[in-house]
Assembly symmetry: C2
């Protein structure tokens, strides 16, 4: 998957590993976090498969850049992957795992747990907004307006998820608070 994500980005234009990482951090991060080390490893594989080519570009002062470009084979593979039917699989949630077993913790512990998550989440919602901004800015630059519709769909998912999660946290906190009052 990360493999194809990188391929998709290179389809928009040539990039270095460093730039790919940046793009991931700025836009894909909220649904696909990627470490630098992982990206460089994947680039090796992509090249081996003949989906990309890499060329060192000398720079004055700075170390050489290693610019990646997609090949015809790579574009073909991207098409194949996109056309392949997708199956939505359950995502692992460490938060729900802990929630499930929260009954083993003293009562105050569980309230703290959710309150802390709520605080964290509010911060996260702000960074989500930044991702949206990033996509909007990109939209102005890209001539082909077709892709941006889909970029916005992913950003929209992020918003909806964020709202849903906040509401869930609030409902949990409310449940625990009203429990506390009654004996």
């Amino acid at each position: 998957m990360l493999r194809h994500g990188i391929l998709g980005l290179l389809n928009y234009g040539d990039m270095t590993g460093y730039e790919i990482r940046e793009t991931f951090q700025n836009s894909l991060n909220f649904f696909w976090p990627a470490q630098t080390s992982q990206i460089y490893r994947e680039l090796v594989v992509l090249e081996e498969k003949g989906w990309i080519e890499r060329h060192a570009v000398a720079q004055s002062g700075k170390p050489d850049k290693n610019v990646c470009s997609i090949t015809a084979q790579g574009r073909q593979e991207l098409q194949r992957w996109l056309a392949e039917p997708a199956h939505s699989s359950a995502t692992r949630s460490p938060i729900l795992m802990k929630t499930f077993f929260m009954g083993e913790l003293p009562e105050t512990g569980s309230l703290d747990f959710f309150r802390q998550l709520r605080q964290q989440h509010c911060l996260y919602l702000e960074t989500l907004g930044q991702t949206g901004d990033f996509i909007s800015r990109y939209q102005a630059q890209v001539p082909d307006g077709k892709s941006t519709l889909f970029w916005q769909m992913t950003a929209d998912f992020g918003q909806r998820y964020g709202q849903m999660y906040l509401q869930w946290l609030d409902s949990c906190i409310h449940l625990l608070e009203t429990r506390e009052e009654e004996p």
Copy 2:
């Protein structure tokens, strides 16, 4: 995480690897799918760490069972893990990854993509209901009503997520359909 999930289940009572797998499939599956092979591997680790003990139990006809029980050390570790602060991390979504690059596919392809996901998701929503039923049935059996509140919270998350996801799919389909009509 799976490690601690298993520990949490064994804290409710002794189980075999097979029963652990069943429980995962019936209740934890929607937020933490676990393969049989992975469970058996983790059980070895759990035993090495001294958090569980395993004893072979002979059965007439069937092969021996390997019953696992949590140790005092295991209970301590469970407490430690629960009390440890949680951080909600982004979950990887293959669906959003594909959505992001959908612009590279012909128009009809993207509509099919979302319509197919919608169909799949409707089936999934039904199995989610079953998970809820399973938890309710369990609730009747367990004397300590404290845990069941948290079990329901996780099931509630599943419901909210399922609804949100359906609404998102519908909004994507609507966007693409209205696009098609206009030139």
